[in-house]
């Protein structure tokens, strides 16, 4: 009787141990998968925010700390895109825009720019925001010239597909911005705010006034390699900035 009870106890304990072991293995597996997903997320997020910000978020939850940084902002927008958009069916329009963004994003990354935001048919690229970059201004202007070349190549493809060619305006300004994780629990991003961003956007608008495609401000020229070929444009009034803005068209680079 006693031995039967002992045997039954051993069987029950063995069953419990087996189930516990299986459960532990399952939990370990889930933990490993979750850790893998977190790792993938961390790698992905590191492309959108400085690694120190990513680490802070992982260690402490959402970071609300912001900082002032000197960055170079490149703002680009398509000229006359409303007419293009109205003339194309939605699927072709989205394909055209995605192809354009893909080409521009590749150029931005190749020049150490961080594509921070798409705004309609425009986009914002930051230089010196994710990592310290003493050459941020030269990088931004080289990127603008490379975007000019990439857009020309993309237009060849568009024309071959019977689509209208695109024209872009690019404005570049350098100055301080407040950088940090902006948003709420539902929607947030690493971004920058401040007058520098607004000026870059306004300068992009001046490309239509001066009939050119790449314009930079005096703050940019102050940090720029003398081998860039520049043309001084007449001062122009822009919304939200009290004094007229002096800009320079970028014609090329003497290697």
């Amino acid at each position: 009787m006693l031995s039967a009870l002992l045997a039954a106890t051993v069987v029950v304990l063995a069953a419990v141990a087996w189930r516990l072991g299986r459960r532990t293995r399952e939990l370990r597996g889930r933990l490993a998968r979750a850790a893998g997903e977190l790792e993938a997320l961390q790698h992905s997020f590191a492309r959108f925010a400085p690694s120190e910000v990513v680490e802070r978020i992982i260690a402490q939850g959402i970071s609300t700390r912001s900082e002032t940084k000197e960055v170079t902002v490149l703002f680009a927008d398509l000229v006359g895109f409303t007419q293009v958009a109205e003339a194309l069916p939605p699927d072709r329009l989205v394909a055209l825009l995605n192809g354009y963004f893909a080409a521009m994003a590749e150029v931005a990354a190749a020049h150490r720019g961080h594509l921070a935001k798409f705004i309609g048919d425009g986009f914002l690229v930051l230089f010196g925001a994710l990592e310290p970059n003493p050459w941020q201004t030269n990088d931004a202007v080289h990127a603008a010239l490379a975007m000019r070349t990439a857009l020309a190549a993309y237009n060849v493809r568009l024309r071959a597909d019977g689509l209208p060619a695109l024209t872009a305006g690019i404005g570049i300004h350098r100055g301080p911005v407040v950088a940090g994780v902006i948003g709420n629990a539902a929607l947030m991003e690493y971004g920058v705010i401040g007058r520098t961003v607004n000026v870059a956007a306004r300068v992009e608008g001046l490309t239509r006034v001066h009939a050119t495609d790449v314009l930079v401000t005096e703050a940019v020229v102050a940090h720029l390699d003398g081998r860039f070929r520049l043309r001084r444009m007449p001062p122009a009034e822009v919304k939200g900035i009290p004094e007229p803005v002096v800009t320079f068209a970028v014609d090329g680079f003497e290697a």
């Binding site: 370990r28 490993a32 850790a35 977190l38 790792e39 400085p50 690694s51 120190e52 992982i58 260690a59 990592e131 310290p132 003493p134 050459w135 030269n138 940090h223 390699d225 003398g226 081998r227």
Partner: protein
């Protein structure tokens, strides 16, 4: 990890050098040695940085630092070798995975976790670790001499990382061997040999010569002599002109926001006849008419070695071979890698 094909062909090593490498690296002649044979100091430097022993830091910690730094630098070669080495030393896959994912999850003392965290920051240099972060390491229980060695281990791991990545050195057969059943049997014996004991401190090199103050910060750690010998051999090597090499040091110093490295390079370049204004133009623009054809390629390349993606660094290194000889490319990568070690290590001199 992305990894391309190695375009450096193996070549015979200088007499005595193969034996020197074998002595340093547990009797093995690794695949990179004959591929880098055209520039003996790079072979010696890689051996020293891979085989360095520490006097104040636990030997096992240096392997963990190698692992996290290699992972951060996406160095397929160093990561694979270090992971295999850790397995030979008796660590399991699960434990290694945990440390890779988050040092805070690792089965190790808080002080060692803090050391790995600090090592990662030295390697990232984004931004450069502050004196306050060194202070936190001291609060975790590390003595100043051990902190210096932790910084050295992290900074110097970047040397083999950059060499292996730039040339896409193929993985070692050792990686596969470590997984074989026979290897599992002999692991305990090997582990005893590989684990080793802390090295004895050595006489500190005099605080003179290029990068003398950074080397002095290492005190009597064996790393100080290894770094002194490497810097002296690198600058004395006849493959590239000294001016080109010092220009690369200045660029890396600027990229890593290390005024000390940049100022020392500026002083030397001034002595070599470059006007301060011309030098500032070169450093501000990574180019200019003051540079010869070779330097015009080397100066922007130096910047690309500071923070990089493996595939981009491999592409840019390959492109250097269009204007430089194979030996010049190897020396250029070696100098850039060394400049990264020195500029990262100079955090030891930053004051609160």
């Amino acid at each position: 990890m992305e990894w391309g094909d190695c375009w450096l062909a193996p070549a015979p090593l200088q007499e005595g050098l193969a034996a020197e490498v074998r002595r340093g690296i547990g009797g093995i002649l690794p695949g990179w040695a004959p591929r880098l044979a055209a520039v003996p100091w790079v072979v010696r430097a890689n051996t020293r940085f891979v085989a360095v022993r520490f006097a104040y830091m636990p030997p096992a910690l240096s392997s963990w630092i190698n692992l996290v730094v290699s992972q951060d630098n996406s160095c397929r070669y160093c990561y694979g070798v270090t992971r295999a080495l850790l397995k030979v030393l008796g660590y399991g896959d699960a434990q290694i995975d945990r440390i890779e994912r988050d040092v805070h999850l690792a089965d190790m003392a808080r002080a060692e976790q803090a050391a790995l965290e600090f090592a990662r920051k030295v390697s990232h240099a984004n931004p450069r670790p502050t004196p306050g972060e060194r202070e936190r390491l001291a609060q975790a229980g590390w003595a100043p001499a051990a902190i210096a060695e932790i910084a050295y281990a992290a900074a110097s791991a970047g040397f083999p990382n950059r060499i292996a990545t730039a040339f896409a050195i193929p993985p070692e057969p050792f990686e596969r061997w470590a997984e074989r059943p026979l290897a599992r049997l002999v692991r305990p014996l090997l582990a005893r040999r590989l684990r080793g004991r802390p090295a004895a401190p050595l006489i500190a090199p005099p605080p003179a010569g290029p990068c003398g103050d950074v080397i002095s910060a290492l005190g009597d750690s064996p790393g100080a002599q290894a770094l002194r010998a490497t810097i002296d051999e690198a600058l004395a090597s006849p493959v590239l002109p000294r001016r080109s090499k010092v220009l690369m040091l200045a660029v890396v110093g600027r990229a890593l926001d290390c005024p000390r490295s940049e100022a020392e390079a500026r002083a030397e370049l001034g002595a070599l006849g470059i006007e301060p204004a011309a030098l500032e133009r070169v450093l501000a623009n990574l180019g200019g008419p003051e540079l010869d054809r070779r330097e015009a390629a080397l100066v922007p390349f130096a910047r690309e070695t500071v923070r990089y993606q493996a595939s981009a660094l491999q592409r840019r290194t390959r492109a250097l071979a269009d204007v430089l000889s194979v030996a010049e490319v190897i020396e250029a990568v070696g100098i850039a890698a060394l400049a990264n070690v020195v500029a990262r290590l100079s955090i030891l001199l930053d004051r609160c």
